[in-house]
Symmetry: none
Subunit: 194 residues, 4 copies
C-alpha cells in the first residue's frame, strides 16, 4: 500500500535537490559541484540524497530527461512544423537564452556530455521518425536516416555551444535562421535522391 503523505514528502525532497543543482549550475561548472554543495543548498541529509539518486550523474540525468521532455513539447506543437523547418529551433534558442546561466553551466563540464549521451537516443528516435515521414515513399535516402538525425542534433548542439561560448552575439531568430540555412540543404539533398 502506498503512503500518500510520504510520497508527497519524497517528491518535495526531490524537487529541493533538483532546484539546488539547477541553482548551483548557474554559479559554477557541473564538474565543480560536489554532492556536499548540493545537499547543503537543498538543506537535505547526505543519506537522503543517496536514497533518491545513485550519484550526482544520476541526478543530472533525471534532470536532463525532464528538460528534454519540456523541449520536446515545444517542438511537437503542430503549428511549428512548416516546410522549411524540421526543428522549430527558434523556440529552443529562446528558451536557452532565458535560462542561459543554466545552459552555460551545462555546456561546460560533464553536463553536455551527459546531455549528449542521454539526448542522443531521444532525439534520434524522434528525428528519425520525422525524417521518415518527410521521405517520399519507396525512396532511399542518400544518407541513412540515423546518420542524418545525428547530424542534425549535433549541429543544433554545436551551434548552441558556440552561441553560449561567444556571449550570444545573435538573436534567437538569427540563430534559428542560420541553423536552418545550414541544415536544410543537406536534408533536402538527402531526401530527394537515393
Amino acid at each position: 500500500m502506498t503512503n500518500l503523505k510520504t510520497d508527497r514528502r519524497s517528491q518535495r525532497t526531490q524537487r529541493f535537490i533538483h532546484e539546488a543543482l539547477m541553482a548551483l549550475m548557474q554559479e559554477k561548472r557541473y564538474d565543480d559541484i560536489t554532492v556536499q554543495d548540493i545537499i547543503d543548498r537543498a538543506d537535505v541529509g547526505r543519506s537522503t540524497f543517496y536514497a533518491h539518486y545513485q550519484d550526482k550523474e544520476d541526478l543530472m540525468t533525471s534532470g536532463l530527461l525532464r528538460l528534454m521532455q519540456i523541449l520536446s513539447e515545444m517542438v511537437t506543437k503542430p503549428s511549428a512544423m512548416g516546410e522549411t523547418s524540421l526543428l522549430p529551433t527558434q523556440e529552443l534558442f529562446e528558451h536557452v537564452q532565458e535560462h542561459q546561466n543554466l545552459f552555460r553551466g551545462m555546456v561546460r563540464g560533464r553536463g553536455l556530455e551527459l546531455f549528449f549521451e542521454k539526448g542522443q537516443e531521444y532525439w534520434n528516435q524522434k528525428l528519425t521518425a520525422d525524417l521518415q515521414a518527410l521521405l517520399p515513399k519507396g525512396q532511399v535516402p542518400a544518407v541513412p536516416l540515423p546518420v542524418l538525425a545525428q547530424f542534425i542534433a549535433g549541429a543544433f548542439v554545436t551551434m548552441l555551444r558556440w552561441w553560449l561560448d561567444n556571449k550570444m552575439p545573435y538573436s534567437p531568430q538569427e540563430m534559428d535562421e542560420m541553423l536552418q540555412r545550414l541544415i536544410m540543404p543537406a536534408v533536402r539533398e538527402c531526401l530527394r535522391e537515393g
Copy 2:
C-alpha cells in the same frame, strides 16, 4: 645556455608519460585514469609528473594539441584540396579507425570535451581562413564564416562520435562521403549568395 642532455632527458620523460596516458586510454575511460595509474605505467615519480604537467588535464591538453597538429598536416596536403572537399576528412576517418581505441577513450569521459575546447579555436581559425579563400571577392556570406567554420568542425566531431559509438558500421570512405554530402550543400549555399 641550454643544457642539451638535460633537455633530451626531459623530452624522453615527457614522451614516457604521454605514451602511458595513450596506453591507458585504450583500456579505460579518461575519467577513470588516475595520476597514479599514469606514473606507474610510465615508471616515473609523482613529482616528476607534476614537474612537467600541472595535472592530468594539462597532460591531456598537450597531447591533444600535438594530435591536432598531426591531423592538421594531413589536411593541408595540397592534393587534398579539391573542389568538392573542404576538409579531406577521409584521411581523418582512416586515422581514427587505426587508433580507434585511443579515440574511443577520448570520445568518452572528459577527453572529448577538452578536444572540443582546445580544438575549437584551432580548427575555426584554419577553416575560417580556408573559407575566406573560397569566397569570391567582395561577396558577403549568407552565414558568418566563424559560424560556418564552427558548424563544419562540429559536424565532423559529431559524425566521428556517432561512428565510434556505433561500432563503425561504415568504412572511412563512406563516412567521408556522407559528411561531404551533408556539409557541402550548406557551404556552397552560404558562399554563393549574401
Copy 3:
C-alpha cells in the same frame, strides 16, 4: 543537544588511533611512524584521522596529556607525600619499567621533546605549588620556585632518559633513591635559607 551514540563512536575511534600509536611506538621510533602506519594499524580512514587530530604531533600531544594525568594521579596519593620525598618517583619509575617499550620510543625521536614542552607547565605548576606549601611562611627561597620546579622535573626526565638509554641497570627503587639523594639536598638548601 549532543548525540550520545555518535560521541561514543567517536571515542571508540579515538581510542583505536591512540592504541595504534602506542603499539607502533613499541616497535619503532616516533619519528619513523607515519600517519599511514597509524591508520593502517587502527583500521581507520585517512580522513577520520585528520577529523580527530590536526596531525601526528597533535595525537602524540593528546596522548601525553592523558599520560601525564595518569602519572599525576600516582603522585598525588596522600600516603606518598612523606617528608623525604617530594616526588614519589619510585612509582613513576615502576610504571615506566612496565611500559618500557612505549617510553623508550617516546624518549627517542620527537616524543620527548613534546613530552617536555607539554609537561613543562603541567609539572611546573604542580611542583611550584607543592614547594610553596613546604616553604615556611614569610621565607624567601634561595632559588625562585619556578626554577627549582623546573630543575626537579628536568632531573627526573634526565634520569629517566639515562635509565632507558642504558638498559635500566638499576631497579626502580634504586633509581628513586638516587634521584631523591640528588634532588633533596638542593630542595632543603633552597627552602631553608633565603
Copy 4:
C-alpha cells in the same frame, strides 16, 4: 697524494654550508629548515651538499661537535676549577646569551635532541673523570659517578632550556649561582659518604 688546493676549496665550501645553517637557525627552528634552504643560502649545489654530509642531521652533528669543543675549552681553563664550581657554567651561560638566537633554534626542534645525544658521552666522560678526581681515594660514591655526571649535564641543559624559553629573566651570573646552588649540595653529598 693529497691535493692541497682542492682540500682548501672543500673546506671553504663546508664552511659556507655551516654558516648557512647557523644563519638559518637564527631565523627558524631546526626542524623547519630544509636542505634546499641551506644550499640556497650557501649558494651551493645540491650534490655538493650531499658530497660533504650524509644529511641535515649529519651537518648539525658535525656543527655540534665543533661547538662542544669550543665550550669544552672554556671549561678546562685551570683557573676556573675552584672548589665551589665543578662546571664553570657562568661562562657557558654568557656564551649562550651572546648567541641566543642560535641556541634558541637549537633548543627547539630536533637540535637539542641531537645536542643531548652527541653531548652525552662527551660530557659524561669528562665529568666522570673530573668527579673521580674529586672523590677521595678508596671511597665509594653514594651515587654511581656516571649517574651523577648525567645528572649534572642534564641539570645544565634543563636550566639552559628554561632560561631561553623564558626570555632569560636572569643574568648569566645569577643562572650560574642558581645552578651551582642546586647541583653542588648533591655533589658534595654523593662524594662524601658511601
